[in-house]
Symmetry: C2
Subunit: 145 residues, 2 copies
DNA sequence: AGAAAAACCTATTGAAATAGTAGGAATTCA
DNA sequence: TGAATTCCTACTATTTCAATAGGTTTTTCT
């Protein structure tokens, strides 16, 4: 019952791109250095974000990545869902909408679906812009973020 | 990012004990049959709940388990924590209170700790008594719970 | 006393998920 | 052409998960 490194790193990468956004493409090498994560591992993660349309990329020399939208438009939930998949803690309801066979008689069903809802509501309530604000409120740029 | 079967089964076992509570000891065999889970696997799970003081047990013929407290006194969170351990989704703060090395500069820290808090608040807000009510509101006793 | 029924204990196992590593192909720019 | 980059996908080691398994101990009933 943990968020994987992929999910956490995805948030860090997106935040890094948001904080260092100049309109130019930012090479993964720079992000990896700032974040202390290998380029190779980040390639996989940023690849998922890119294929989801969250980023624009440019190959070759001077290539890299940049955001396609304003930071306010990325909820943390949407970022996590790219790498973690569905964020539900229980398989009461599958992604295809199919319910657990016990659902008719399951007294815990509403507890679990309620739990999934508070999580979903929370992660949707935060955006990249909120995290940027957090970063700017602290002395983030004196450190390696 | 899923609650394990141990956690989910623990809730079902506790609810089963609460719904079938007569003051007598209930053998695991009965619970296992109702829940469709093997006795052997449930032994491990109920053992954890028992060692945590959530149950009274009696060995030997006519032995079994029963609750030690009133259903209102068991939060679902407390049950889940027995089998799942700490319910935090991220290792920002360890169980021993030690913080992640990045915590000083981590802009996502308050996001993650806030997420853990909404989860903790939610799971503490539900008790076994609430689930019993859910069970009784539906036609639970016509089915095998 | 003896048999049966239950809790109790802990090792083992197979499968899946996690957290990367690795090697190279394709693209772009200078 | 060469360097820097993205892009793609296979592989691997470790850990976690979900049980299974094989017993030992305790208690009650006959």
């Amino acid at each position: 019952m943990k968020v994987s490194t992929k999910g956490r790193y995805a948030v860090r990468v997106m935040l890094d791109l948001a904080l260092h956004n100049t309109g130019e493409y930012i090479p993964l090498k720079e992000i990896a250095a700032r974040q202390g994560i290998t380029v190779k591992y980040l390639e996989q993660i940023i690849g998922m974000l890119n294929r989801a349309g969250f980023l624009q990329s440019l190959r070759g020399n001077n290539g890299g990545y940049r955001l396609t939208k304003a930071p306010e438009e990325y909820t943390i939930g949407s970022i996590l869902r790219i790498t973690e998949g569905d964020l539900r803690l229980t398989p009461c309801i599958e992604e295809n909408g199919q319910e657990c066979e016990r659902s008719e008689t399951c007294a815990a069903m509403s507890f679990w679906t309620g739990l999934d809802k508070v999580i979903a509501d929370y992660v949707e309530s935060y955006t990249l812009a909120d995290l940027m604000k957090q970063a700017e409120d602290t002395n983030w740029d004196y450190y390696v973020i």
